[in-house]
Amino acid sequence: MYKYDEYDQQMVDTRVAEFRDQVRRRLAGELTEDQFKPLRLQNGLYLQLHAYMLRVAVPYGTMNSAQMKMLGDIADKYDRGYGHFTTRTNIQYNWIKLEDTPDALADLAKVEMHAIQTSGNCIRNISSDQYAGASADEVVDPRPYAELLRQWSSFHPEFLVLPRKFKIAVIASEIDRAAMRLHDIGINLVKNDAGEVGAEFYVGGGMGRTPFVAKKIKDFVPIDQMVTYAEACVRVYNRYGRRDNKYKARIKILVHELGLEAYSKEVDAEFAHLLTQPIEPPLAELERIQAMFVDPAFETGLSDDLDLSDPDFRLWVERNTFAHKAPGYVIANVSLKPIGGIPGDATSDQIRLMAELAKDYSFDELRVTHAQNIVFPHVKKNDLYTLWQKLEKADLSTPNLDTVGDIIACPGLDYCSLANARSIPVAQKISERFGTAERQAEIGELKLKISGCINACGHHHAGHIGILGVDKKGKENYQLLLGGSEGADTSLAKITGPGFDEDGVVDATEKAIDVYLANKQGDERFLDTYRRIGMAPFKEAIYG
C-alpha cells in the first residue's frame, strides 16, 4: 500500500490549515455562503437538506486497517455513529457540524487521509479495480498508476475550476470492475507486443442526465507519457468545455458535440506541445510508488480446500468470494446490503470490526467498491470460516453480491438537496421482496441501481435494472429502465415506459424478473435474456 512521505503529509496538513482558515473566515462573516461554497466544495463539504455532509476520499478504494478504524471513530466523534460508502469508493458523513470539520480533517490527516477534491468542478477521487493486486486476470496492478495520477491531479493549478466535475478510473483487466467506460477519462493499462505497459485511453463517458459510454481515443500511450496525455485531454476540455449550461458542461458533451475526431485532433496538438514541457514525472517516481504495492508475504504450500459443510457458509462462499491469484487465498466481499438495510451504510462498530478483521485476516488491507461494498483482498482459505463467523455476528455476512439485493442507491431525498425522490425506501422494499436466499439464487446475477434524480449518482443507466426517481407534479414517481451494464460490455439502460409510485415500481421490477425467469435459457443472466429477447416482452408484462 502507498505510504506518505514527508511531502505528501505536508500537502495534506497544509490543506487542513487552509481549510481551517476558510472556515474561520466563514464563521467570522468574512466570507458569505456564496463565496464559501466553491471553496468548501473543493474539500468535500456539501450543505445538504438537514446538515453539512463531509465526503472523505479513499484513493482508488484502498485502505489499511488504521485508516478504516479512523473512519469509524470519526463517525462516533463528529457524526451519528455511521457512515455511507459511495459509488466513488469514498465515505460520507451526513450530520457534520461546520465548526467541527477542520478537526475531523486533522484527525484524517493523522492516518494519511483527506477530503481533497471529493467534490467541486475539479478532478475527483480516482477509482480503480477493487480486486487490484489480488486477482489473476490483471495485466499489472493499476493502483500505482492511479497514485501517480492522484498526485498529478491534487491541487493542479490549471484544473481546479473546470467546467464541471471530472472523474478518472484506472483499470488493468479485460473484466472491467470499475465501470471504467462511464468515466470522463477511463484508462485501461495494457501491454503491447513488445511486452511494454501502456495506457489505453477512453474519454467522454458519464452518467447524469445525458449518459454516454466513453469512446476509445488512444490505443497505447507509452507509460512515460501517460500523465502528459491526461494533461492534454483535460486542458482541451478546460478551454472548450461548455460553461453556459451546467447540464451540458461535462466532457462527454464536448466530445459528443465536437465529435471524437475533432476532439482527438485538438488533444494531439496539445499533447505534442506538452511533451516539450516538463510535465511527466520520471519513471523512477512510478517505480518508487510501485515498490509500495508489492505483494504481501503470501504463505506457500497452502491448501485450496474449504470445508463447506455449513450451508450458510457455503452460500456466502459461492456468492461473495472471488478467486485469488495466490494458491490457498481468496478475495472476500462484505456486502453492505443487508436485507431491508440502507445500501452502503455501516455503523461505527461495523467499520471498526472490519478494520480489525482486515488486520487479522487480510494483510491489513481493505477495499471499497463502486457497488458500495467492502473487500478483504487477501484472505487465507484456512481463515475464511472464522472470518465469516465474525462477520455474521455483526450482520455483515449477507450472501448477495451482484444479486438483486446488492442494490446501488444514492442517498436520495432522505438526505440530498438535489434529489427529486427517495431512493432508500425503494431499495429497502426491493431488498425485502427478493430477500430470501432461494429467491436470490433463482434470479442469480442481477445488478439493480437506483437514483433519486437525473444526476444518476445511483448509476441507474448502468443497471441491468435501473430505477430513476423523478418529481411528477409534486409527487415522487419512479421510472423503470432495463438493459444497462457497466462492465466490459458497457451499455446504457432503456426506459420501459410511464413511471410508477413507490410500490408500483417494486411490482414492476418483480414482473420484469418474472419475464426473465420464464424466458431464461441455460445459464443466462437477466441481462443476457433481455439482450436476446428485447424490450417488448418486458413491456407487455409490465404494462399489458
Binding site: 511531502y7 491541487f155 484544473f159
Partner: protein
C-alpha cells in the same frame, strides 16, 4: 480600470490601455491586450514580442479558462506582465501564480494579510509547470 493590488515584478508597471484580442490582431501598435474567457490565447502567439501586458479577465473566478490562457502564454515564452483582473479570490491566488500570473487586480480589494498568507501557503507542489520554475515534489524525490 481597477488597481493592481499585488505585483511580483520589478519593472515599471504598464499602464497602456488594454485592447481586445480582435482589436490587437488588427492594431499593430498596441502593447497591451485583454483576454476574455472565450478568447483563444493562441491568437496572440505570433506577436508575443511586442506585448508588455496581457490582462486576463475573470468575470467569475469559477470560470477557469483564464488559467489555461495564462499557462499557454507562458509556455510559449511570454515574459511580460500577466495580470489577472476581476473576481479574484484569496484561496486561488497561489494557484494563479503557478499558472504564470504575476500581477493581480481584484475588482474588490482583498484582505492583504490573508492574501499574503495564501501566496505563501504551499511550500511544495506536485506538478511541474514550466512557468513558475518551482521543482515539483517528484523532482525533489529524485534529484538529477
Amino acid at each position: 480600470m481597477v488597481d493592481v493590488q499585488f505585483r511580483f515584478r520589478d519593472d515599471e508597471a504598464v499602464n497602456d490601455p488594454a485592447v481586445t484580442v480582435s482589436a490587437f490582431t488588427e492594431q499593430s501598435n498596441a502593447t497591451a491586450v485583454r483576454i476574455e474567457p472565450s478568447d483563444d490565447a493562441r491568437d496572440l502567439l505570433p506577436s508575443l514580442d511586442r506585448l508588455a501586458l496581457v490582462e486576463v479577465a475573470f468575470p467569475a473566478w469559477t470560470d477557469g479558462r483564464g488559467y489555461s490562457s495564462a499557462r499557454i502564454l507562458r509556455e510559449a515564452g511570454y515574459t511580460g506582465e500577466l495580470r489577472a483582473t476581476g473576481d479574484l479570490v484569496i484561496d486561488m491566488l497561489h494557484h494563479m501564480r503557478r499558472c504564470g500570473f504575476d500581477a493581480f487586480a481584484p475588482e474588490k480589494p482583498l484582505n492583504t494579510s490573508d492574501a499574503e498568507a495564501a501566496f505563501a501557503r504551499w511550500e511544495n507542489v506536485y506538478q511541474a509547470t514550466v512557468v513558475d520554475g518551482r521543482p515539483p515534489i517528484w523532482a525533489k524525490r529524485h534529484p538529477a
